[in-house]
Amino acid sequence: MGEKDTIKKIREKQADWEKKVYSKAVQENPERKQKFKNLSEVEIKHLYTPEDIAENEYLSDIGFPGEFPYLRGVHPNLYRGRLWTMRQFAGFGSAEETNRRYHYLLEHGETGLSVAFDYPTLYGYDSDHPLARGEFGKCGVAISSLVDMELLFHGIPLDKITTSMTINGPAAIVWAMYIANAENQGIKKTQIGGTIQNDILKEYIAQKSYIFPPEPSMRLIVDTFEYGYKYVPKWNTISISGYHIREAGSTAIQELAFTLGDGIEYVKAAMNRGLAIDDFAPRLSFFFNAHNDFFEEIAKYRAARRIWANEMKKLGAKNPRSLWMRFHTQTAGCTLTAQQPEINIVRVTLQALAAVLGGTQSLHTNSMDEALALPSEKAVRIALRTQQIIAEESGVTDTVDPLGGSYYIEWLTDKMEEETYKYFDKVERLGGVIPAIEKGFFQREIAESAYRYQKETDEKKRIFVGVNRYKLDEEISIPILKMDEKGEERQSHRLKKLRKERDNGKVQKNLSRLRKAAEGEENLMPFILECIHSYATLGETCDVLREVFGEYKEPAVF
């Protein structure tokens, strides 16, 4: 960027400055480290100048917000128009308890809902399944049937508020519950909005709550894409997620590369089924982590937008909305410390600020107590207030992409893009995303990075305030969320009652229709919806698919 002559002059002047000014300063004040590296092991120079981004053409490589390549944002006026959606991931215990938490959050200014499900639900088991032992409502809410879904959203206007649901293996089934619940209230499919995570590739790679093998899983996902654009047009049918890849220990570059790689894989799978890219692609959404390295995170979001727009264009997308990389962000759970938990508020503030400066569409801020337990009401309120302060007090929302044009940020954005393409090539050489998963490529890459990070922390090469420096010898005393101990009993009673009182003939008929369809090639969404409407449980519906599709098992390597 900039005229060649100007660049030349800058280079000459810089050489002079390095010699006369900088090196002298370093002699007087030696630098704290020999090398400065960010969390992706990229070496960071002491200064960036126009020369570092000389190759960048403003009009074609940076451009304007709302225009290709969307580096500066997908919306022309970003937060000057509408603020991001403040969406706190929440769920614990029974549907009634979580419903109370949703009302609490909405009363305090939250603008979207986000459901955390417990492990049995994530694996498609009813709460009374033997493998659910000990897990009821522990790290999310237990949802076993449409009855639970009705209780979960009691008193919440589904045509006005959007809901994100972190559900993957049984995403189609849980989405059907949400649709059925809305329909029973007289709200049309076209009126509801929200997101299902529905990203199975990152489950195999990082989060590990998968059910079926890759092939039928991809089929189910494409079924939801197709059903979504035809009948539930305001729904994001996938949230292609780097969050969990990062939490499992990856670097920012790995998060970026693996997530966008997964995204391209989904697009290809849908196109292979004969779906037109511009029909489904506008409903694809993304989900990234906001970790500690402030500028690296901002560069990551910006790079993601440009890479995605370019890749989608290559795949033949014509609709501008197909090129938009819209994303949700959550601050990094893995950076929270159990020690001195209050200081997590500061970490979260910086991470959230990075997400906002990176142009996120929605945001979850972690609560200070989450290295110990699920958040208490007070902790989650402070987390929400953190977003409100950034949004309404800090002034960072007054202009679009305020860091665009920073020599460092633009250089780092380019660098992350370059490294991402290197990973794309590696994965391509392994035969694509699914073969690379089956070979354990991503899993090994992540485990390596996680181990290195731990070692560097243990060796104090990376500082964690309160953990390996500035430690306090004190008892951790922070109020912990207490769950209703009767919740599990109520749930088990509710399930028994449901299985007795519903029209079991109809349930069986619908389940066998689903089985037949699963054995064939039809889109399964209408069949799943029929099962759910007749109050088949999550476990029963999932079991049919388990029997037809089989289950995925990963090789245990470390």
Binding site: Y119, P120, L122, Y123, L131, A132, R133, G134, E135, K138, C139, E203, Q207, K208, S209, E247, A248, G249, C334, L336, T337, A338, Q339, E370, A371, L372, A373, L374, A447, A450, Y451, Q454, T457, D458, F464, G466, V467, N468, E475, I476, S477, I480, E554, P555, A556, V557, F558
Partner: protein
């Protein structure tokens, strides 16, 4: 030759968070122990059976889902039932401070929370291994 300490690093229940378990497994191996990693989604019964078959000295349980009060206690109880009290059981994960004394009482020798240097775990095992 000194017998190497044999450790089973296990993930009970449905929790898929395996970052910590894998890091600890690798650190223990690097510290000269023989490490068996159970893989994900193990029932207490499966973990105890593996511990017996592999004749381990230590079982390290990792759980971030919050189900530790049930699943850790299940493992310890079953080990006792199989006369395997001499196996050292340690645990880690997202575990509220107030649960720690109850886990210790049940027979979990130590609980390592977030931020624990892996060396602390290595040292604890070397010092407390019973067999």
């Amino acid at each position: 030759m000194v017998k190497k300490i044999r450790v089973l690093v296990a993930k009970p229940g449905l929790d898929g968070h395996d970052r910590g378990a894998k890091i600890v497994a690798r650190a223990l191996r690097d510290a000269g122990m023989e490490v068996i990693y159970s893989g994900l989604h193990q029932t207490a019964n499966q973990i105890v059976n593996t511990a017996i078959q592999e004749d381990v000295d230590v079982v390290g349980l990792s759980l971030l889902s919050g189900a530790h009060m049930t699943l850790f206690v299940d493992v310890v109880t079953m080990l006792k039932e199989k006369q395997m009290e001499d196996v050292l059981v340690v645990g880690g994960g997202i575990i509220p401070e107030e649960d720690v004394p109850r886990l210790k009482k049940a027979g979990v020798a130590a609980v390592f929370g977030p931020g624990t240097p892996v060396d602390d775990i290595v040292c604890f095992i070397k010092k407390n291994v019973k067999r």
